[in-house]
Symmetry: C2
Amino acid sequence: MKINSKGWALLTDLYELTMAACYFENEMDQPATFSLFIRSYPPGRNFFVAAGLADALSYLENLRFTPEDLSSLERTGLFKPAFLEYLKNFRFTGEVWAIPEGRLFFAEEPLLEVRAPLIEAQLVETYLINTLNLQVMIATKAARCVAAAQGRPLVDFSLRRTQGRDAGLKVARASYIAGFIGTSNVLAGKEYNIPIYGTMAHSFVVSFPSELAAFRAFAQTFPENTIFLVDTYDSLAGVRKAVKAGRELKKAGIPLKGIRLDSGEIVRLSQAARRILDEAGFKETMIFASGAFDEYKIQQILAKGAEVNSFGVGTKMGVSADAPYLDMAYKLVQYNGRPVLKLSPGKMTLAGEKQVFRFYNQEGQMAKDILGLRWEQFERGELLLERFMSQGKITKALPSLVEIRERFLGEFATLDASYKEISSHPPRFPVDYSPALRKLQQETIREVREKELGES
Amino acid sequence: MKINSKGWALLTDLYELTMAACYFENEMDQPATFSLFIRSYPPGRNFFVAAGLADALSYLENLRFTPEDLSSLERTGLFKPAFLEYLKNFRFTGEVWAIPEGRLFFAEEPLLEVRAPLIEAQLVETYLINTLNLQVMIATKAARCVAAAQGRPLVDFSLRRTQGRDAGLKVARASYIAGFIGTSNVLAGKEYNIPIYGTMAHSFVVSFPSELAAFRAFAQTFPENTIFLVDTYDSLAGVRKAVKAGRELKKAGIPLKGIRLDSGEIVRLSQAARRILDEAGFKETMIFASGAFDEYKIQQILAKGAEVNSFGVGTKMGVSADAPYLDMAYKLVQYNGRPVLKLSPGKMTLAGEKQVFRFYNQEGQMAKDILGLRWEQFERGELLLERFMSQGKITKALPSLVEIRERFLGEFATLDASYKEISSHPPRFPVDYSPALRKLQQETIREVREKELGES
């Protein structure tokens, strides 16, 4: 199993461990709450799709320092024996509140809050951000592609250029949550039970004596799965050869499933290919397009009348090319019952343990969110954060990937279409601070200023 | 060990396996050569740093389909028993030529060429691109940061926002090759023996009753490693508190190592911090800066006179934010002795097995490269591609990471400074095609056109 979360205790920033050592020496291990949220939207974005919680919880539940980890830490010469002994028995014993996977959320809203003894809550920061940042970013990017494709099926083709192996797996999962129908990634198919798809490469075509020979051979081996790649030499000549091979299939009673265009002017080529196929009686044969697609290019070519039935969406989705990271942070908001914050310019945090309350209009469409404190209640306000872990154990049955995907598609349908349009300045979904959160924030800022900056 | 390459046989695109099945049925398993290269430069780039070969070779040497992999493939219903039986005994038995890690190379030049029976050479495509794309991209980005920092030490701080766990490890390794002095990533430190660095977080400061109390506690636990984060509430007030804690250290004969600025106007704040430190007698105390640094921001603030001694370089390097993927391709260039290519618009390949010949001027600076055929020879032309694997086994002792890093730093010094300037239209290093490569290309294009497009 490649996707487990054991053995990753050292996949952390050194400062998590040095701070922990210092807390340990100072017996500072009172309950701390950290809030994980995205500070602001990357350009063009105005919503986020929750993803990655299953991995995060699995990490927390299984976190252990192995003897090998401990000797490695000892060799750094930084840590005292008592602290290493503490790490030997380390378990995460805290509580986790989170927005379930597949739900929509917005900037500043906590995706997850950890409440645990300070050392534990601090130590898990790096890993939690690493896994949630990636999966939210990709699910969000993929959701934008799904919206742009207006119902046309999309397949994740990104594995070769995802940033590493782990990303390859998580991109397949996150894009599936966001409505993709499957992936080319065979391991992701196996590990997550996601449908897998594939056609053929140019190298396949050129390794045969001729393009037609390549199509015939493929049809022989996979008669039910014929999507011929037609652009190796000349796309429209390739379509005519696909038709030739398709006629041979037809005689055996097997339909020509599709052709794939992977380069050139897709609008013109897809229209011409459609005509060639239709005139030859292959009206059911689909046109599959790949090659540098993302939400922008999908929208653009469909607006120009491209005759594409389905897309392979690769690199630009798989690395979220126009926004390859999120401004995701994990900040201490309460320690030992005391609300805390930092005032750093442009990075001020909101104090206190939080909840997000969602409101719908009479048509069942999402109307607004209120970001408030955990104990608050609002009539008809749906609670977004749910408790998933207590005392270090998962306390809630996690939904299957298919259930998460359905939840996303259902929720996405309740988000007004205006929020899904591709735009450099998309409208912002309304998120208000609750009066109680505002009050706590003002009080905490005043206290901190008085104490640290001598203001009164 | 997290970084081994066993168990990844299914981390591949489905089409690699369907094509392989078709080759298998057609007994098409003659020697094939695939060339892995970067088609063109992303915006602003004009060189690449070779990285990732150790991983690629380890993958090839260890590639096996486990019984679990095979049952999973069987369950797809796509593959016949004879092919699955073939996969059961699958080994990579081919030859690999590659440019060693740490060397500079340029667009179109093969970073690696695989010569193996067609099925084997095809099956490894996805993994090879995945790992080499990431590592070359990051080493290149990191080298740009190193150039911009003009000798100031850089530390990789990107782990929390690398795209997944695997990227976290490989970014640490690739940036170290490119001249970074270390990483915050503890696991990368352990696995690759890279120096690890860390300071403290804002959460550390806010969890103490006061900022000064936080500094004192840290100095108590790590007296030799005091880099105080000063911007939690107000940066210059923070510097004054660092001075206070530093005076207490001084009494014990221990120097205040540094302060860290993580937000705000770094130019102004670093100059003011320097004055405060100098006036208090802390002339040796370094100013460490972090927060959204990359080659552009490093260059900009140094040009404006920022008083920064060292940088933590995070997210933007760790995802290569301005160029989060490379146009890396793995293309069949020869099959069964016959040179092959594809003509797809904008994606035409160069036929034949290749070599890169490098020439230096009299001052020992890199002067030009010639991209030619494998068998060619040029007087004083240094051969970039070396044979690293024969019959599926590594045949060359691989250099240590420190040796790779030294090789890079040595070679980078022979690249004229004009190529290292940050520019949206950087000058191009001259790479010529050899006459023999040109001739082969023209002949192959003519043959393909005649055969496939009926041209004469």
